[in-house]
Amino acid sequence: MPLSRKGIQLAVAEAAGARTLVRKAPAADAGAGPAPSSPSPCRRGADGSARRSGPALGLGDRLALGAVGVVVVLAIVGPWLAPYVATVPSGEAFLPPLSDGHLLGTDAIGMDILSRVLVGMRSSLGAAVVVTLAAAAFGTVIGVLAGFRGGWLDSALMRVTDLFLAVPATIIAMVMAAALGQTLGSAIIGIAVVWWPLYARLVRGEVRRVVALPHVTAAQVSGVKGWRLLTRHVAPAVSPTVAVTASIDIGGVIMTLAALSFLGLGSPAPTPELGRMAADGMRYLLSSWWIPVMPSLAITVMAFVFNYAGDAWRTLLRGRGV
C-alpha cells in the first residue's frame, strides 16, 4: 500500500525529532508572538517561506475577496443601474430571461426581475450589515462588562446570555418578527435579538484572555486602570476577533433574513425583497421557473461570496497570529 508506506516515512521522520514536545512548550504564550516551531522539520522550509512572502491565500480566496467588493458595489449602485422602476410593471408578464430589454425576464404582473433583484440586493445587504453591527455592538458591550468587571456581574450577564443561547434562535426571531408586524425593520430586530449572545460570549472570553496577558499586567502595575486600561490596552487586542466574526456572520444573516422574508415576515409586496419575491413566485415554478429562481440565486450568490471570503479572511488573519 503506497499510502501506508508514506505514512510510515512520515511517522518515522516526526518521531525522530520528537516535535510534539517542542511544539507544546511555547504554545502557552503563543498569542504574544509568532510560534517559534512548525510541526515538522521536512515542512518547515516550505511553511516558513510561504508565510514570509505573505498570507497563504489561494486563487479562490483572492477571487472571493474581490467578489465581495463587486457584490458590495453592485448592491450600492445597483438600484441606479436598474433599467426600470422596480415596483411597477414595465412590460409584458411572464417574459423569459434574455428577452428583449429584460435580461432576467419579467414576473407575473410584468415587473422587471433584474431591477427588482438589484433593489432587493441592496436592502438585503443593508439589513444584514445593520443586524450584524447591532448584534456585535450590543454583544461587545455585554461581553466587556462581564469579562472586565468579573464577579457577580459576570455570572449574572452570562446566565442571561446562556438563556438566549439555549432557546432556538430562528424561532425567537420568527416570533419577534411576527409580533412586531410585517416590515423589514421587525425582521432586523428579530434577528439582532437572537444574534448578540454569540458576540457577548466571544468578547467575554477574549477580554478575559487579554487581561491575563503580560502587557496588560505591566500597564496595571504602572497604575493604568479602568476606562483607560480598557480602551488603550484591552480593546485593541479584542477588536480584530470581533471584526472577523462579524464579517463571517454577514453571509449567515443574509440567509436568515431571506428565510424570514420567504415566510412573509419581511415587507409585503410590491417592495422588492429577495426572499419574498421567491415565495410569491413559487406558484409559477413549473410554468415560469425564473420568477422564483432568479431572486433565490441572488441570495445564494451574496451568501456564498460572504461565506467564502469570510473564511479566507479568517485564514489570512490566523496566519498573522490573530
Binding site: 432556538p168 420568527m174 428565510a259 415566510l263 412573509g264 429562481v293 433565490s296 456564498f304
Partner: protein, 331 residues
C-alpha cells in the same frame, strides 16, 4: 453523572419557562388584535365582549400566563384564532409529519457529513474542491435547493413527486408516520411511495446541516489523523482507511454530535420553508399560515413545541456526551 443529569434537567426547565414567558410576552406586546383576528373586523361590540371572555383576555396578565403554562403542560395549547379549532387537535396530525421529515433530513445530513468528511480526510486535491462544494451548498437557501430539486427530478425527469406525503389515501389507524404505516400494513408499495415523497424535501432541508456537520467532522478528523496515536497506527502498517474508521471517526464524533444538536435547531427554519414548497402538511405549513393570518395563539403554540423539542434534544445530547466523556461532566 447523576448530579450532572439533574443539573441539566433543572436548566431545561428554566429555559423552557423562559421560552414560554418570551413567547407569551411577545404575543401581548404585538400590535395585532387577537379578538379581531378571531371574529373578523365587522363584529359588533357584544360579539367582541363575548370573544374576549372566551379567549380569556379579561383575566389579569399573570392569570393568563398561568393558564397558558398549565394548559400547555396538560396538552391544551389554546384555540387557534384562524382555524377556530383547538390547536392541539390541529397539530396532532401535523407533528408526526414534521418529525418524519426532520428524521429523514437529519439522517441524510449525517450520511452526507460522514461521506464528505471521509473523502476530505483521505484526498489531497479533492479537499480543495470539497471546500468549494461546502461553501456553495451552505450558501444556498433551502428553498432554492427545493426548487431546483422540483425542476430537475419532477419536471424534467419525472422521477420523484413534488408535493404532498403520499399518492394514496391514509390508513384509518395511521401512526402519522407514513413509511411506518406502510411497513405495519405489510405494503412495501405504500412505504416506497412515502419514501419517494420524502426524498426531495429531506435533501432540501438536510443539505445545509449536512455540510455544516461535515466541516466540524472534517476539522476533527484532521486533528485526530495527525495525532500521535494515528502515527503509531501508521507505523504499525495499518491502512489509511482502517485508521480513519477505527481511530479518526470515533475521536471526531463527539464535537460532531454537539454540532448535530445545534444544526437540528437551525434546521427548524429550513423545515418551515421546505414544507411550504412541497405542500407538506406539517408544523411548518401551519406556522406559515398562522403568520399570514396574524394568528398569534397558533404561532406561540408551534414555537413553544419546536423550542421544547430543541431544548430537550440538546440536553439529551449533552447528557449522552457526558456519559462517554468525563471532561464534559467535570468541566
Amino acid at each position: 453523572m447523576l448530579s450532572f443529569t439533574l443539573r441539566r434537567l433543572a436548566s431545561v426547565v428554566g429555559v423552557v419557562l423562559f421560552l414560554a414567558l418570551a413567547v407569551f410576552a411577545l404575543g401581548k406586546v404585538g400590535n395585532a388584535d387577537p379578538v379581531r383576528t378571531y371574529i373578523g373586523a365587522n363584529a359588533s361590540a357584544e360579539q367582541v365582549e363575548q370573544a374576549r371572555a372566551e379567549l380569556g383576555l379579561d383575566d389579569p396578565l399573570l392569570t393568563q400566563f398561568w393558564n397558558f403554562l398549565t394548559g400547555a403542560v396538560q396538552g391544551d395549547l389554546g384555540i387557534s384564532l384562524s382555524t377556530k379549532h383547538a390547536i392541539a387537535d390541529d397539530l396532532s396530525t401535523r407533528l408526526p409529519a414534521t418529525l418524519e421529515l426532520a428524521g429523514w433530513a437529519l439522517g441524510f445530513a449525517v450520511i452526507l457529513a460522514v461521506v464528505l468528511a471521509a473523502v476530505a480526510a483521505l484526498g489531497g486535491k479533492v479537499a480543495a474542491v470539497l471546500r468549494f462544494v461546502f461553501f456553495s451548498a451552505a450558501s444556498a437557501p433551502a428553498f432554492l435547493v427545493a426548487m431546483l430539486g422540483v425542476l430537475v427530478f419532477y419536471q424534467a425527469w419525472g422521477l420523484l413527486p413534488a408535493s404532498g406525503r403520499t399518492s394514496y389515501g391514509v390508513y384509518d389507524d395511521s401512526t402519522g408516520f407514513y413509511v411506518i404505516d406502510g411497513l405495519l400494513h405489510a405494503s412495501p408499495l405504500y412505504a416506497a411511495d412515502a419514501i419517494g415523497h420524502l426524498i426531495l424535501p429531506a435533501v432540501a432541508a438536510g443539505l445545509a446541516p449536512g455540510v455544516a456537520l461535515a466541516r466540524v467532522l472534517s476539522d476533527g478528523l484532521g486533528a485526530s489523523m495527525s495525532s500521535p496515536f494515528a502515527r503509531t497506527a501508521r507505523a504499525m502498517g495499518e491502512s489509511e482507511t482502517t485508521i480513519l474508521r477505527r481511530h479518526g471517526l470515533r475521536n471526531a464524533s463527539s464535537p460532531a454530535l454537539s454540532m448535530l444538536a445545534v444544526q437540528a435547531g437551525l434546521m427548524v427554519s429550513s423545515l418551515v420553508v421546505v414544507e411550504q414548497v412541497f405542500a407538506w402538511n406539517g408544523l411548518g405549513t401551519y406556522l406559515a399560515n398562522a403568520i399570514a393570518a396574524g394568528d398569534f395563539n397558533a404561532i406561540a403554540a408551534v414555537s413553544l413545541i419546536l423550542g421544547v423539542v430543541y431544548v430537550v434534544l440538546n440536553a439529551l445530547v449533552e447528557v449522552a456526551l457526558a456519559a462517554v466523556d468525563p471532561r464534559v461532566r467535570l468541566g
